[in-house]
């Protein structure tokens, strides 16, 4: 019997979790599906603070929805121009203040390592809702949950991560998580947006990794196509962005050579990297992913607050 203790635990980096722990989170997520439909009072009396120092629609609403569906309450802010930051307060002080108001904190911050620092100062669990271009562990967990739900398993899959692999935090966390499974990973990006070396270093000894630039070449082989937006806001200069903008375009023509049961995922928001014509195909699963995000975050909130064991 595994001893899986989550109460009081921070969810900072996907690297902190074993395969058993991730599978356990995915199992609890599955048990949250009915509660996500009909609601629950499992976390009644508990407060989630969403501290978003960077704009976000999906992740913040997803965390807040998850908390509300479990009967908890939500406080927080959604942009960096909040009073405390304007006055020059640092993150450590903000955390040491907010921990008095809330039972759990979901944090998004523009700097790498912000969630780790917050966790070192906080008495209450920190859920990393995206730290700089470094990690986004709850997104990785919902991606895994989606793969498992759609394909029935994760082991044995051939998975391509496509687009901005350098600045895209979701793909960093996802690559770490996938390295715990028996999969083949294709990393497809423009040369200037190749996967960060620390991620490659951490995963290449565990799973088979193929790096490349040509998506058409790998499309017939893969089971999961994970597409990311090339993020303008993370580029140091506009000329560099212009060079790689629109490198990959997922459309019906490309999908002609794909497996029938391929699934296409995207952390959203998308721009033009997936053509609207793809939305109606059975392969498009990116909007189902959004629902899965709620149940995974419900599971995480219930686990770190000790409401489920």
């Amino acid at each position: 019997m595994l001893n899986l203790e989550f109460k009081g635990r921070d969810i900072v980096s996907i690297e902190d979790f074993s395969r058993e722990e991730i599978n356990y989170i995915l199992n609890i997520s599955r048990s949250m599906e009915p509660l996500a439909s009909k609601g629950s009072d499992m976390l009644k009396g508990k407060i989630l603070a969403t501290l978003f120092f960077e704009p976000s629609t999906r992740t913040r609403l997803s965390f807040e929805t998850a908390m509300l569906k479990l009967g908890g309450a939500v406080i927080g802010f959604a942009e960096a121009e909040v009073a405390s930051v304007r006055k020059g307060e640092n993150l450590a002080d903000t955390i040491r203040t907010v921990e008095n108001y809330a039972d759990v904190i979901a944090l998004r911050h523009p700097l790498d390592g912000a969630a780790k620092l917050a966790a070192e100062f906080s008495k209450v669990p920190i859920l990393n809702a995206g730290s700089g271009s470094e990690e986004h562990p709850t997104q990785a967990l919902m991606d895994l949950y989606t793969m498992q739900k759609e394909k029935g398993k994760i082991d044995g899959l051939k998975i391509a991560l496509v687009g901005d692999l350098r600045y895209g935090r979701t793909v960093h966390s996802l690559a770490y998580a996938l390295s715990l499974y028996d999969i083949k990973l294709y990393l497809i990006s423009p040369e200037s947006l190749k996967m960060r070396k620390e991620v490659i270093h951490a995963v290449e000894n565990k799973i088979s990794v193929v790096e490349g630039t040509d998506l058409e070449e790998v499309i017939p082989q893969i089971d999961v196509l994970y597409v990311t937006r090339i993020q303008k806001e993370r580029f140091p200069d506009a000329a560099e962005y212009a060079k790689v903008k629109g490198t990959y375009k997922i459309d019906l023509k490309l999908l002609k050579n794909a497996k029938k049961d391929l699934i296409i995922l995207h952390p959203l928001p998308r721009l033009d990297e997936i053509a609207a014509e793809v939305d109606a195909t059975p392969q498009a699963r990116y909007f189902q992913q959004v629902w899965n995000g709620i149940v995974v975050r419900m599971a995480l909130l219930a686990l770190v607050l000790g409401a489920v064991k």
């Binding site: 980096s13 690297e15 020059g88 640092n90 993150l91 450590a92 911050h109 523009p110 700097l111 790498d112 390592g113 912000a114 780790k116 620092l117 730290s131 700089g132 271009s133 470094e134 990690e135 070396k197 620390e198 270093h201």
Partner: protein, 154 residues
């Protein structure tokens, strides 16, 4: 002979850091925080012929015996260095440099977006992933630093 004596002249009390890889003596001096304005006699020999390595650097510091922490710092830039503590012209102690598993407060993360480079009360911290070639991992952002990065941000 005269030239050789000039290069390796003995010191009375202090530290001799020998077998520094050729060309890295100034980095060793820098990592020890020595500016040259300490009013202490110092000899720095760069690219002198060596039997063990083709060339090596030597740093001699009069009147200062290095402590273990300082010795370990040297391992970041000169992993093969040997350290002799000298008293009254004799070697009283020989120390091997040894890289600690965790390096705190000495280096800055090279990732400009790392939280440890902001106005937070965070002390930089790195985990040694590999000694040869040197690979350090930032505790906060996970960035990997190589020897070239370490030398750049001393």
């Amino acid at each position: 002979m005269v030239e050789k004596e000039l290069r390796v002249s003995k010191i009375k009390d202090g530290t001799v850091i020998d077998h520094i890889s050729g060309g890295y003596a100034l980095d060793v001096v820098k990592i020890l925080g020595i500016t040259g304005r300490e009013k202490r006699v110092m000899t720095i020999a760069i690219n002198v012929p060596s039997k063990r390595f083709k060339v090596k650097d030597i740093v001699k510091i009069e009147g200062r015996a290095l402590n273990t922490e300082e010795v370990n710092k040297i391992a970041l830039v000169a992993p093969h260095a040997t350290i002799n503590i000298i008293r009254d012209y004799c070697v009283v102690e020989k120390l091997e440099v040894k890289l600690p598993k965790v390096i705190e407060g000495i280096l800055k993360c090279v990732n400009p977006a790392c939280i440890s480079n902001s106005n937070e009360p965070a002390v930089s911290k790195f985990y040694v992933q590999s000694e040869e070639p040197l690979l350090l991992k930032c505790h906060y952002c996970g960035y990997l630093l190589e020897r070239a990065d370490v030398l750049q941000n001393l």
